[in-house]
């Protein structure tokens, strides 16, 4: 047994066992070394590769804030659209598919070929901003090399009515004009990005980190009242067309808050379709265009005279013989009179009277009056291109210039500045800061005139719209109105054009407790009528009446119909 047992045992050489052990140990050592190498030296690279299999960085797009009117109605809204782009090197399709794509995108097949001609480029837009429905149909074609990208497009439901205030954005959703440009920073928002883990079906299963926090644009509520704006635009458009004028502008200001309730320009444009746009349509004349205001400036001259204490509303000013010559230049009155009271100078819009009043005062006082009501300096308004106007330093004034400035020539202002200056009379001597953003709170004014002078001028301005004044067509049933007409010759190549006029009207109502200031300017009326009282005052009346009714302002005058004055009844003025 034992023999056979020992016989069965084969005695292996000891080295073989040692060899196997050594080989195993060496193999384990090699594995250990490799894993140590991978775990320590190469760990970053490997982890990165591993993560790349399941983690993704996502862009978090920021939507642009909406622009709303004061009642919450949308004036500008962004909504997603798709852009179709192509990798020219990858594109393969037959002529039938090309025609189908062309008809979906509204492009000729040869235009598509032109876009794709340079096959070395990596990225070519075929068509930007197509509606999601069309984009889905394009995707359904399943064309190789044609891709889509999400973008936003801005829509303006207000169209041409609010175009100048709201402005518009470019194709990249960045503001280019108006409020869209002025409030780009807050409307635009900031896109963010984050890292996430996706499973094999592409669902996000874990949020790893937020790389950059995104921020959606904030909504902006404007001071504009959609109804008043629409009314103002309609009235202005009708007046410009009826008088065959070149252009027109209108502004409505809430006296108590300084909010701009309406700001209309004509001609206008459709911000949703901006092909063939001209500069004349684009300009916000109310804010950016300067004009010589003419007689609408007289109340400030008179206010200064009252403020000096030397004159009262009843002081007689000799205006005979209805003209006055200073250094080869003659000032005329349309209605010559021997003598007018200070009130009548406003009522009849006497140039000679205003000039005489002005010449009796130091030029420095007159300059500081104009300056204190905001002329000659850009208004504090968040709007691109707000004009400062021209008010030359008083040291360089010649007597004739001081005389013409008394009735609004040789000085230029924007309609916005003019309307704002009238808040001085409406608010008992306080100049109110204007805003295009809804505040809803009483604004703190800056005192520039004593309350008694402001009220005296208010009474005169009320006279100016009564029969016998220059602007009876500005009257409305149910509310007392105060205001001043202006008819200025336009300056052309350094001289006044004899047949080109700017008709304007600035005023406020109700006169007993002013609530709204409305200013209108009609540029080059050429259908026969050109006086401010005939062209601009009716627009004022229409807008003022509608706006007071919409705001529910209590009546302060008996409700009797206003007899429209006959053609020759009302006084006219020459500036």
């Amino acid at each position: 047994m034992s023999k056979s047992g020992t016989q069965g045992l084969v005695r292996l050489p000891v080295w073989r066992a040692r060899f196997v052990v050594t080989a195993l140990v060496a193999a384990f050592a090699a594995l250990g070394a490799r894993s140590a190498y991978l775990q320590t030296v190469r760990t970053d690279f490997l982890q990165e590769k591993g993560e790349a299999r399941y983690s993704r960085v996502l862009e978090v797009p920021a939507t642009r804030g909406r622009i709303l009117d004061r009642n919450g109605e949308a004036l500008a809204v962004s909504t997603p659209v798709k852009s179709i782009w192509a990798l020219p090197g990858d594109v393969e399709f037959g002529p039938g598919q090309k025609r189908r794509l062309g008809s979906l995108l509204g492009m000729e097949p040869k235009d598509i070929d032109k876009r794709l001609a340079d096959r070395s480029r990596d990225f070519v837009y075929l068509k930007r901003q197509v509606s999601p429905e069309i984009a889905d149909e394009v995707a359904a074609l399943g064309l190789k090399g044609i891709h889509q990208q999400q973008e936003y497009r801005r829509y303006y439901p207000g169209g041409e009515v609010t175009a100048h205030v709201v402005g518009f954005t470019g194709v990249d959703d960045v503001g280019q004009e108006g409020v869209e440009l002025a409030y780009q920073a807050s409307l635009g928002g900031k896109p963010g990005s984050r890292r996430v883990i996706k499973d094999r079906l592409g669902r996000i299963v874990e949020d790893v980190e937020s790389i950059r926090a995104g921020q959606d644009g904030t909504d902006l509520t404007l001071s504009i009242d959609g109804k008043i704006q629409s009314l103002a635009y309609g009235a202005l458009k009708a007046a410009v067309e009826e008088n065959r004028a070149k252009a027109g502008g209108l502004i409505v200001i809430d006296v108590r808050t300084g909010e701009i309730l309406a700001l209309a320009n004509y001609p206008s444009f459709n911000p949703n379709n901006r092909a063939r746009l001209t500069g004349a349509q684009l300009r916000n004349r109310v804010i950016t265009d300067l004009f010589e205001p003419g007689s609408t400036l007289k109340p400030f001259t008179i206010a200064l005279a009252l403020e000096s204490g030397k004159l009262t509303p009843n002081t007689a000013i000799s205006t005979a013989p209805g003209s006055m010559t200073i250094a080869h230049y003659t000032i005329h009155d349309t209605h010559p009179a021997a003598s007018l009271s200070l009130s009548q100078v406003i009522q009849k819009s006497s140039n000679v009277g205003a000039a005489k009043v002005a010449l009796a005062m130091p030029s420095a006082a007159m300059w500081s009056m104009f300056q204190s009501v905001g002329f000659g300096e850009a208004p504090q308004l968040d709007f691109p291109g707000a004009a400062a106007g021209k008010l030359r330093p008083y040291k360089s004034w010649r007597p004739i210039e001081q005389a013409t400035m008394a009735y609004g020539h040789g000085i230029s202002v924007s309609l916005l500045q003019l309307a704002r200056a009238y808040t001085v009379f409406a608010r008992d001597g306080e100049l109110v800061p204007l805003t295009l953003v809804k505040t809803g709170t009483e604004a703190a004014g800056e005192k520039v005139l004593s309350a008694s002078s402001a009220r005296a001028v208010r009474t005169m301005l009320e006279l100016a719209v009564q029969p016998g004044g220059t602007g009876p067509r500005a009257r409305i049933m149910g509310w007392r109105v105060a205001g001043k007409t202006g008819t200025a010759h336009k300056e052309e190549n350094g001289a006044y054009a004899p047949d080109k006029y700017l008709a304007s009207f600035a005023g406020f109502a109700p006169a007993s407790a002013p609530r709204l200031v409305v200013a209108v300017v009609i540029d080059e009326p050429s259908a026969g009528q050109y006086y401010g009282g005939a062209v601009a005052a009716p627009v004022f009346a229409q807008v003022m009446q509608g706006a007071l009714r919409l705001l529910g302002v209590p009546h302060d005058a008996p409700l009797v119909p206003i007899e429209s004055p006959g053609a020759g009844d009302d006084a006219r003025e020459s500036t």
Binding site: A74, G158, I204
Partner: protein, 90 residues
């Protein structure tokens, strides 16, 4: 000793399974959250589009022309309007 080891093993297995299930549930909840957030964004987009549509239908010029032409409405004569102030209403 062996008993304690077995117990610890059982606890370990239970913990491991717990970890896996809770991770799974967390991911599921997270994907639900993502879906709801996407829905919220889509609804916001739709709200914007509806707002746009509402504004287009409610264009003042359109409302005015329908009121005047189709319905034959007109602004009341100011003489027939009475404005009531809160003090008078009492």
């Amino acid at each position: 000793m062996a008993k304690l080891n077995l117990l610890l093993l059982a606890v370990l297995v239970a913990c491991a399974i717990g970890l896996v299930t809770s991770q799974h549930r967390a991911r599921k909840l997270f994907s639900d959250l993502e879906r709801e957030q996407a829905r919220a964004r889509a609804l916001d987009v739709e709200y914007g589009q509806l707002q746009l549509e509402a504004s287009t239908w409610a264009l003042h010029a359109r409302v005015e022309s329908i009121a005047a032409r189709k319905l034959g409405l007109h602004a009341p004569d100011p003489r027939r309007v009475r404005i009531v102030r809160p003090a008078e209403a009492r």
